[in-house]
């Protein structure tokens, strides 16, 4: 019954209630400790008096919180970024082999030597009633380390959904570049064979850039797209069309003139049609895979790693909390004379308890808040670095899981802080006064 009600609530409400629940012990403790007292002037004074010690505690807490939440948020950002990069790739059809190799090659442009899909299979895809879009993805060449991929104009329009500048290539001498390639319409390039790592090996063919794609948040932002016909032609292979070809690039292709492609992107209008196509083309002769599903399986495999990271994050925070509490126990000795004076003047034990606990909580809460802000900055920074290194748009942002983690941490440490506060209120007044 409770489960039904809970899962019926909007997610935002669930998250808010969970946050409230996690902070409730802390708030309740605070109310019980502080009701009837004004601790602020004393706590502020103590913070000023012990400024460097306080700053050290705050820094410790902030660093541990910041690193922990950034770690967890970054892992999620990476997972979501890699998944988003695969959004445009509904179904990939390739020659039989490793799904992960095909995924890395077709979606993330990490090509390796994989067998080619033949013209007959490609023609079946072109003619299939359920197929809305099919495009070859012929990689293998590069320009200054940037992959040059042979495909069709339809694929460019599908990937970019309108160009940032210029137009899609229409001839074998034209190319379109990704948003992060340092080329613009009007520039020219000569591709090299392979990924360029074995030294210059230029083909004798020049492309003119005619368009630049919109940002896709994927490695395709760092790619150069050309007609597949030109890639075949450069390598001395049949160019996909019969003798009556009018040199207009794009499908349909003549199966007997189709030189082969490592992979093809396939798209159906409906999800069910994609699954139907996948089962039809997943045979001993061809392999059909959903990048989203393969990625989800990879992410599930990494689920254990994620758990370890979460445990590490929590352990870090617990260790810092222990260090802070140990420090507070020492601090209660430093504060002993002041607390003894208060009791000598007639302040109740609960006031001394309240002052000590409030002082500890001020340090912890300040550290946690700064830590959250630090986590936000770390996320921005690390995401920017990963994006620039991989071209995969990673946007790690703090979300409810991190906020819940910090709330739980603050609450737990707040409750543990009751012990040094209690011990501070039970010390011998005269001994401390005379010390």
């Amino acid at each position: 019954m409770i489960e039904t009600i809970w899962f019926g609530l909007p997610i935002l409400v669930q998250d808010g209630l969970m946050l409230a629940g996690l902070l409730l012990p802390l708030v309740a403790t605070g109310l019980i400790c502080l009701t009837g007292f004004r601790v602020a002037p004393l706590v502020t004074g103590l913070l000023r008096k012990h400024a460097s010690l306080s700053a050290t505690f705050v820094f410790l807490v902030a660093a541990s919180v910041g690193i922990s939440v950034a770690l967890i948020a970054q892992e999620r950002g990476l997972r979501e970024g890699t998944a988003r990069a695969a959004d445009k790739f509904d179904l990939i059809v390739a020659a039989p082999g490793s799904e992960i190799t095909a995924l890395l090659a077709a979606v993330y442009l990490q090509p390796s030597a994989i067998p080619l899909l033949d013209g007959e299979t490609y023609a079946q895809l072109e003619q299939h009633p359920l197929v809305d879009l099919v495009a070859p993805l012929a990689f293998g060449d590069s320009w200054q380390g940037v992959p040059v991929v042979g495909t069709t104009p339809a694929f460019v329009e599908h990937l970019s959904e309108g160009l940032n500048t210029g137009r899609v290539f229409a001839t074998v001498n034209e190319a379109v570049v990704g948003a992060r390639v340092a080329l613009n319409p009007g520039d020219e390039l000569k591709p090299s064979h392979g990924d360029g790592s074995k030294g210059p090996n230029s083909h004798d063919h020049t492309y003119e850039i005619v368009g630049k794609m919109e940002r896709t948040g994927s490695p395709w932002d760092n790619a150069i797209l050309v007609s597949v016909e030109s890639v075949w032609g450069i390598h001395g292979m049949p160019m996909g069309h019969g003798p009556d070809w009018d040199w207009q690039v794009g499908g349909p292709f003549e199966p007997s003139e189709f030189a082969g492609t490592p992979a093809a992107l396939v798209r159906a209008n409906e999800l069910w049609a994609n699954y139907s196509l996948q089962s039809e083309f997943n045979t001993s002769d061809t392999m059909a895979l959903f990048p989203g599903s393969v990625l989800a399986q990879l992410h599930a495999l990494m689920g254990d790693i994620r758990q370890v990271m979460s445990i590490l994050a929590v352990t870090t925070q617990v260790l810092v909390a222990i260090a802070v509490l140990a420090g507070l126990s020492m601090l209660s000795r430093i504060l002993a004379k002041r607390m003894a004076l208060l009791r000598a003047l007639g302040a109740p034990e609960r006031f001394v308890f309240a002052v000590t606990w409030s002082f500890a909580m001020t340090l912890i809460v300040t550290g946690a808040v700064i830590g959250l802000l630090l986590g936000v900055f770390l996320c921005f920074g690390v995401s920017a670095v990963i994006t620039s290194m991989t071209s995969i748009l990673v946007e790690a942002r703090l979300a409810w899981p991190e906020i819940h983690l910090v709330a739980a941490f603050v609450s737990a440490v707040g409750l543990f802080s009751l012990l040094p506060a209690y011990r501070a209120s039970r010390r011998s007044v005269l001994t401390d006064l005379r010390s």
Partner: protein, 171 residues
């Protein structure tokens, strides 16, 4: 001595007989006295290895292998089960960094094709299950095709199972 040898030989034969239970192609009745049936047929449609993971959730994902050995396309519409309020045909989808199972209205399986319902792929979602499924349990359900219905028995595998425990076995 001869009696002992005969006894030993009989024992060996009995063990061999039990170990080769999988290679019988008329189901597993004699292998599993409880009557588990890993395979069902509907004409030239062969359905194998229906399974689900152990769970305490009220929604359960059921998977099965479908071999269309007929000469024409068939269409899977969904399923029915007494222990669930309703059953949906669902497919895994990842979009915008978010992923989950989306309802599918139907699933055509072309002639000669093999459709494997599996985690992070296509599945039958049993909604509002009225009992917890424990590893080792069986469950009965009916697959619904445009071309007809077929009852079969599924097996509950471990909570973190990725496939049927007999997956890959050619019956």
């Amino acid at each position: 001595m001869k009696l002992v040898l005969n006894l030993l030989f009989s024992l060996f034969a009995a063990c061999a007989f039990a170990g080769e239970g999988h290679s019988h192609d008329d189901g597993h009745d004699h292998e599993k006295p409880s009557g588990r049936d890993h395979m069902a047929t509907l004409g030239d449609l062969r359905l194998l290895h229906a399974w689900a993971s152990e769970t305490e959730d009220s929604d359960v994902l059921v998977y099965v292998e479908i071999e269309n050995n007929s000469g024409r396309a068939v269409t899977l519409l969904g399923a029915q089960a007494d222990f669930a309020a309703r059953t949906e045909l669902v497919g895994f989808q990842s979009q915008g960094g978010e992923s989950g199972y989306t309802r599918l209205p139907k699933l055509p399986i072309s002639a000669g094709a093999k459709m494997i319902l599996k985690p992070k792929g296509v599945a039958l979602r049993m909604v509002g299950v009225d009992r917890h499924l424990h590893e080792g349990d069986d469950f009965e359900f009916t697959l619904v095709f445009e071309q007809g219905e077929v009852a079969m028995t599924g097996q509950v595998e471990a909570e973190n199972a990725a496939q049927h425990s007999h997956a890959g076995h050619n019956h």
